[in-house]
Amino acid sequence: MSTVVFPGDQLHYDENKPLNIGPGVYCDPKSQKVLPINAGSAVVSDSKKDQSLYIDYDSKRYIPAVGDLVVGIIVGQYTDSYKVSLSSFSTSVTLPYMAFPNASKKNKPTLKIGDLVYARVSSAEKELEAELECVDATTGKDAGYGLLDGGMTVDVTLKFARHLLFDNSFPLLPILAKHTQFEIAIGVNGKIWIKCEEVKDTLACYRSILDCQSLPVSNHKNVVKENFSKVSKVAEA
Amino acid sequence: MSRFEIYSPEGLRVDGRRWNELRRFDCSINTHSHAADGSSYLEQGNNKIITLVKGPKEPSLRSQMDPTKALLKVSVNITKFSKTERSKTSHKNERRVLEIQTALTRTFNKNVMLHIYPRTLIDIEIHVLQQDGGLVGTLINGITLALIDAGIAMFDYISGVSVGLYDTTPLLEVNSLEENVMSSVTLGVVGKTEKLSLLLVEDKIPLDRLESVLAIGIAGAHRVRELMDSELRKRAEKRVANSTN
């Protein structure tokens, strides 16, 4: 169930149940009124105990939230942490050396400035710099986080990145898989890292993802096909 | 303006040169050994410039520090008395001067081995005492000399020269009288190659003439390189002789 709401509209939910509010919803500290602050579809999910409410809206700029999986660029190095950029011009976030698997005071990670990392946001307070971790805090294992070597990143809108990451029925990745083998890391900060064996295949994936961002789902298949054939034509020549 | 005959039927220019003749080229290095790490004084025709190279040194601002390579900074000071008519305003922030500085910085960025001096600043200061056409070329030569004097590693010489085009005749190294009445091209040539680091055309030139202009320019630049080279070798030999005594 979803309806499109705009900032300042009234939200419909069960007033008697405890309410969890998510992105796009704001509780005015003075009047305790709950109102949407973004334009998008309002999603209310009900459970027995409580209900949660959030607005599904699209944007280009990422604001860190705990638990998000992100792709970042190392832009600086301090004595005990890296400075990581999640999107250009945003305030950078920190990635402590201790947030790596098997980290100790002697065993420091070896990332360099300019490297790409896949990480999870471990803390995000609006007044402070957010923090990342490259380790699964519960198991202490690397869990797929860490350096992304080679490949290419694609900048997409946040909503599109969420579709790719969470929507299992979204057809783009299976279509790509039919054409080539690839490694992929999707950051909800709108950065998608992709790597194939060959440069030309990576490039075809890059163009396909960019193109499909603004096309109906039904067109994806043809667009991907076109991109792959175009790339191989140039490569043959 | 037509009082002068720019190029006479006999093949002579206003200052008596032939079409393919360079101007007088007098240079010396290590002229300001107390003021800078490397310095040169160059007279190319009536252009007179002093170049000072300071560095590689620790940058005064943190933002100038690059952990992978040295930062090259060029500042050009065109004095108010450098032309016949004294200019009323300072040239410091003129767009033309900013453009020249940027062009020079980018020319030498690719030629100086910046990666072997990380976290440092190489500061190049040029003072133009007198100018008479083809200034940018002269500035390039001055910097090359001063950088070599400072002992900063470079891949090769860069020599600068200007070429004018009078009707269909290219004239090597224009002076300001010639520069005012015809289009001219400035080249910065790398060593003995035919590679151009800098190429500036500021006025209209027929596209089909450009190639011949470039050809004479490259030849002229190679000659300038030889002149600089012989002066540098003379200096070096003298120094070697002094130290063995």
């Binding site: 290419m152 990143t153 790339v231 | 940027t102 960025n109 090769d156 590679k195 596209l207």
Partner: protein, 306 residues
């Protein structure tokens, strides 16, 4: 200087790798100029140029002013190119002292103003006391590389499109006729300079570039933003349809072989020819569109009169 766009090493390496295999990010070939889209606003001299994701708006305006004392027979012409964060957060508002901004301003200045593309003597009204001052305001709306080339197209199209009010001079008294009263007059355009920018990449190491004979450097036309941020050197050639080189600027950067530079100039000429034709066709088309309405209006007036 505002912050820069952040780049990862992988991205950097990938773009170069692709170039080595003759591939560009956006699928163009090395010599391919982006398609140029020209749109006119309601008024004369209001032009929006779109090239891929680069978008530039140019607006010409005029007013009566006093000529410079040392040039009493010439009108005034000014091109203003100020940046704003609208084109991208890397630009600072009104700050044009950055290296690239200075070069961009200077090259447009040389290409259009100093080359005499606009007939400034035709702007003179009363010698020494009154003349037209023409102003071109270039607004960068969206920057995906090629600002310089697009600006030059925008300024020239706008100048061709612009019309100034007609005037009558009686002694030292100048009468300006409002545009709805008398058909305004176009400016005198003497030639149409077109800028084409090449970006150079070095697929080998620096030493090979300077000492070697392979000349394997890559030159691409009309780079987009990512390519611009990674390039090692650039060359801007300004030509017009009369096979005249108006301006060439290779301000340092990767040393390039003289012959390949000449080759680039010839490539630029074919683009210049094509773009000049396109600009003229667009202006002509818009002009006839406007005249069609003018014709309609005047016939209606004629009917009213009868």
């Amino acid at each position: 200087m505002a912050k820069d766009i952040e780049f990862s090493t992988s991205e950097n390496k990938f773009i170069l790798d692709a170039l080595r295999q003759n591939l560009r990010l956006d699928g163009r070939s090395f010599d391919q100029f982006r398609d140029v889209d020209i749109k006119f606003g309601k008024e004369y001299g209001d032009v929006t140029v779109t090239m891929g994701k680069t978008k530039i708006h140019c607006r010409i305006s005029c007013q009566i002013a006093q000529p410079y004392e040392d040039r009493p027979f010439e009108g005034l012409f000014l091109i203003s190119t100020e940046t704003s964060p609208m084109a991208g957060p890397q630009f600072e508002n009104g700050n044009s002292t950055g290296e690239d901004e200075v070069l961009c301003v200077r090259i447009i200045e040389k290409a259009v103003r100093r080359s005499g593309a606009l007939d400034v003597e035709g702007l003179c009204i009363v010698a020494g006391s009154k003349c037209w001052a023409i102003r071109a305001d270039v607004h960068f709306l969206d920057c995906d590389g090629g600002l310089l080339d697009a600006s030059c197209i925008a300024v020239m199209t706008a100048l061709l499109h612009f019309k100034k009010p007609d005037i009558t001079v009686l002694g030292d008294r100048v009468t300006v006729h409002p545009t709805d009263e008398r058909e305004p007059v176009p400016l005198g355009i003497l030639h149409i300079p077109i800028c084409v920018t090449f970006s150079f990449f070095n697929p080998q190491d620096t030493e090979e570039n300077i000492k070697g004979d392979s000349n394997a450097e890559i030159a691409i036309i009309d780079a987009n933003l990512k390519e611009e941020l990674l390039r090692d050197g650039t060359l801007t050639v300004t030509l017009n349809k009369n096979r005249e080189v108006v301006q060439v600027s290779k301000a340092g950067g990767l040393p390039m072989d003289a012959l390949s530079l000449m080759e680039n100039c010839y490539k630029a000429y074919t683009i210049t020819e094509k773009l000049t034709d396109q600009i003229l066709a667009c202006v002509k088309e818009d002009d006839s569109k406007r005249n069609q309405y003018a014709g309609l209006l005047s016939s209606e007036n004629a009917r009213d009169a009868t």
